[in-house]
């Protein structure tokens, strides 16, 4: 099938403002937006810049604004979209070229919450730290994050202020805060109760709607907020 595309083209080194580039791509009937973008890059205009890696919804490289909402280009079928399909870079981050943005403020927020397991002082005696299936289930939803930034860059608060740690960072903090083996809560909750932390969230639910992994992002954020309020970890 033919897919009409309008892609935001912008090279800050040579242009002062972006333009729409119009293209018609040829993809299979079940072709995804990523296939259409490949067609453009491979056969029509090799200067188009985009990020992608796995091509199968696992690596989180190709979040973009597709027809006005954040989606992974590798997960959206062209046949489900109104044409022309508009493709823009995710918002709130500086565009480096075309669909590629500077992800640093996003990863700065991620690093800020210390997204690794902080063990307590007990010595497991050279063995693994055991956990019951129920304890594992407590944070299952937030383990699924692939750090694609679709949630954070759909958030109106983040658009206005990229020092807000953003939904993805809070999701990844949640993954450890509710892990029974983790002992780093105090510090994480401290960071998340700061001005740029969880309470910047105004529950617009854009993040939950945008997450390609179906993570209940807003719910996770609210759980973190209440944990900060009541310290009931």
């Amino acid at each position: 099938m033919k897919v009409q595309l309008k892609i935001q083209r912008f090279d800050p080194a040579t242009q002062d403002k972006p333009v729409w580039g119009n293209y018609v791509a040829e993809v299979e009937d079940n072709g995804r937006v990523l296939d259409a973008l490949h067609y453009v890059k491979w056969y029509l205009d090799g200067t188009l810049a985009l990020r992608r890696s796995c091509g199968h919804g696992v690596c989180g490289s190709d979040a973009m604004v597709i027809n006005g909402v954040n989606r992974l280009a590798c997960k959206v079928l062209c046949k489900t979209l109104d044409q022309p399909v508009t493709v823009e870079p995710i918002r709130g981050l500086k565009v480096e070229k075309d669909l590629i943005v500077d992800m640093e403020p996003f990863f700065a927020g991620y690093r800020a919450v210390q997204p690794w397991l902080v063990p307590d002082d007990t010595d497991p005696g050279g063995r693994e730290r055991l956990q019951s299936p129920e304890e594992r289930a407590r944070y299952d939803d937030t383990t699924k994050c692939i750090l694609c930034a679709a949630c954070t860059t759909s958030c109106p608060i983040f658009w206005g202020d990229d020092t807000y740690v953003g939904p993805a960072a809070i999701v990844n903090a949640h993954r450890f805060i509710f892990d029974s083996r983790d002992a780093g809560d105090r510090e994480r909750l401290e960071i998340l109760s700061a001005r740029e932390g969880a309470f910047r969230c105004r529950t617009t639910f854009n993040c939950t709607e945008a997450c390609p992994r179906g993570i209940k992002v807003t719910e996770a954020i609210q759980e973190v907020k209440r944990t900060i309020l009541y310290r009931k970890v």
């Binding site: 033919k2 009409q4 935001q8 083209r9 912008f10 403002k17 972006p18 333009v19 729409w20 580039g21 119009n22 293209y23 018609v24 791509a25 453009v40 056969y43 029509l44 205009d45 604004v65 027809n67 006005g68 909402v69 508009t86 823009e88 918002r91 759909s154 109106p156 105004r202 529950t203 617009t204 639910f205 854009n206 709607e209 209940k216 807003t218 719910e219 609210q222 759980e223 907020k225 209440r226």
Partner: protein, 129 residues
């Protein structure tokens, strides 16, 4: 090769198609600012009494003119929406199942706001018609 390939045109950012949650957030901000704006106006008009009854009366008479009515109706609408939506936000923040009922709560806010607003608007606008 397609004929349209490579043709460019001026770029206008598309509007992000957020859901109901985003709109209620925008409305909450907007109505909040309206109420705040009125509050400032109100501080201004009451403080005029310090400069004499005459000044105060002139100002208050503006409020009584017919064209001011629709603005007051808007104000009451803003107060109603802001307070009802505020209750929803409190529930979503503090009630641990609030998030799951987000849709229903939003519908409830809109319905209750309308039910309160329509008769108030009617009562307020009736005298000027």
């Amino acid at each position: 090769m397609s004929p349209a390939a490579g043709k460019t045109e001026p770029y206008h950012k598309t509007r992000y198609k957020g859901g109901g949650g985003m709109w209620s957030w925008i409305l909450h901000r907007g109505t909040g600012l309206m109420v705040l704006g009125f509050l400032f106006l109100h501080i201004l008009d009451t403080s005029l009494i310090g400069f004499g009854k005459h000044h105060y009366d002139t100002f208050v008479n503006i409020y009584k003119t017919a064209w001011f009515r629709p603005l007051e109706v808007l104000l009451i609408g803003a107060v109603i929406y802001h307070s009802m939506n505020g209750l929803r936000v409190i529930l979503v923040d503090f009630w641990d199942r609030g998030v799951r009922y987000e849709r229903q709560l939003s519908v409830a806010v809109n319905v209750v706001s309308l039910v309160m607003f329509v008769p108030s608007a009617f009562i307020m606008l009736k005298p000027i018609f």
